[in-house]
Symmetry: C2
Subunit: 338 residues, 2 copies
């Protein structure tokens, strides 16, 4: 049944003919620890032969350290979060950490927190789930646990890692303005999502700064169905915009499908620019011009910042320097096919 137990430090010490404390010293390799070169070699050889790896629990108990990070996400099924999460996990692995996931479905949050934080399982937490005013803040605030907010910013926390959302909104507006549009609409997500608010606001401000009327704004959940409902309202409006900015992948998909069914031709009758890029966007009714965000960098940098915090750095807000990229496809053109 159970195979032979893994080698312990005492086993490598014995094989190298030294005391366990000496073995520990060389393996933890503080450069200035005075141990004879020959001894060092013997210990390393023994460890390699035995394929020794220190028991994480024992080490952790002694050092009050787990080399484990928590990742709290709203939904792994969200492709955008998934991209961020994989980059975060990959970076954590590179830096010697392991990551445990907890889905924040609103119910589990408190229990997740207890199990991960109170039981001492993690050194820090990436919080990618909390919407503004969500309950997570209550836990996080009382804890001394290092943590960062990823993507979903908490103003004043001093722990936000965010992308250049304002630039995304601005670039979307400039793209459409550059094509000659003057009459805009936009679909945003629910108001609790701060990152959405920042890009939507910048879109609006850029349009206004250009001297055009403020975009008409609709709100939709992050589902194709909700975006579809809103799209119908937009198509039925008396004074239709000639160009629309939507704030999520699901919005773009729902919008295009609904336009096709309503007989609205994109981009001839209406231009559409989306937020969040995906290969999929090349393969729907009208390939959708969209804004690609540096999600992998977000994950990587957030993880790095968290680990810095664990190592004693003071938390600070970070903005990912990389600019968003507009991926041009077929859904944007000059107004009226002009």
């Amino acid at each position: 049944m159970a195979a032979k137990p893994p080698p312990r430090l005492v086993d490598v010490a014995a094989r190298a003919g030294v005391h366990v404390s000496t073995a520990s010293r060389v393996l933890n390799g503080s450069v200035d620890s005075k141990v004879r070169e020959e001894t060092r070699l013997r210990v390393h050889a023994a460890a390699a032969e035995l394929r020794y790896r220190p028991n994480a629990l024992a080490r952790g108990l002694k050092t009050s350290t787990t080399t484990t990070l928590g990742l709290l996400v709203r939904s792994l099924s969200n492709p955008v979060m998934a991209d961020m999460a994989r980059a975060a996990a990959a970076r954590a692995w590179e830096l010697g950490y392991v990551v445990v996931i907890a889905e924040d479905d609103g119910v589990i949050t408190q229990r997740a927190w207890e199990r991960l934080v109170h039981e001492g399982r993690i050194d820090g937490m990436l919080v990618a789930s909390a919407s503004i005013g969500g309950p997570i803040l209550d836990f996080v605030d009382q804890a001394s646990l290092p943590h960062v907010f990823v993507d979903h910013v908490h103003p004043g926390s001093g722990r936000n890692v965010a992308m250049r959302e304002a630039d995304a909104g601005r670039m979307a507006a400039e793209h459409l303005l550059g094509l000659g549009h003057h009459h805009f609409g936009q679909i945003t997500g629910p108001p609790a999502f701060d990152s959405d608010r920042r890009r939507s606001e910048a879109f609006r401000e850029t349009v206004i700064a250009a001297g055009d009327p403020a975009p008409v704004r609709w709100v939709a959940d992050y589902t194709e169905a909700s975006a579809s409902e809103v799209a119908k309202a937009i198509f039925a409006a008396k004074n239709r915009p000639t160009a629309v900015f939507v704030s999520a992948l699901s919005h773009a998909i729902g919008f295009v499908a609904t336009a096709q069914r309503a007989g609205i031709r994109i981009p001839d009758e209406m231009s559409l620019i989306g937020y969040d890029d995906d290969p999929l966007l090349d393969y729907i009714g009208v390939p959708v011009t969209s804004i690609r965000m540096p999600l992998a960098e977000l994950g990587r940098i957030a993880t790095g910042a968290l680990i810095d915090q664990i190592n004693g750095s003071a938390p600070r807000d970070i903005e990912i320097p990389t600019l968003p990229i507009i991926v041009p496809r077929s859904s944007t053109a000059t107004p009226n096919g002009g």
Copy 2:
């Protein structure tokens, strides 16, 4: 900086006026451990007041148990895997476990294994990544670590947790046969994917058993682009099938887009049935009839089976009993619009 340290068992013992070993006994609550009712109450009260939670590392070190599961997946960005993974994680949480994720990008596998298994971080592993003959088997075989293969079956391992793929293929075929089709095509994924092979094979066999010619078979990677290339080949074939079964969500999306661009009308000129369901399928050029698999059950049951193994049960192959469901949309009809 660091807040007050979490309470230890010795703290609750002191507050309850008992020895730490007594406190441990009541908190671990073996029913038959003879401890006076009054003592029991005092200890529980003290633990509650202090919000005591046992340190996972200390307990784990003592009991050689981590209440942590590993989850090895190919890519979190795969929406199907994501659905399975969330259900698995949710079930693990219910059963008192925590889950650490490791992405198997082919490079990290060995290091992931060392870090998770050799360092004693996990009690068992859900392997959802390994394609047939992949390197993971080398590690897994030598280890005595409890593990199950999820979705990607390893014949003979006796540890497979799989869905009714053959039924999925059969049902797809029967759906099309029932509409009157006699001339079939199919797109499968790369041959290394066993679950795909099982459904594709069943599709083929069902068609043959009905007395029709064997479906013409094409192979595509699991990308829209690859499916699109294959779709072009299908449309260009001299003797085109009237109905096609595709083996992945990305296949369906690529296929529909390419059909529209080629002017092939679905379902009038060709019927399409897909595998893997998604709300998205309601919102592409032609809403695609597809087969929904019980992914959440897969994740839940696999997790349960793994934990059973950890608790001493012998591993065994498990088939998820739930039948797939056909979600009818607009992409399938009688041949020739007839």
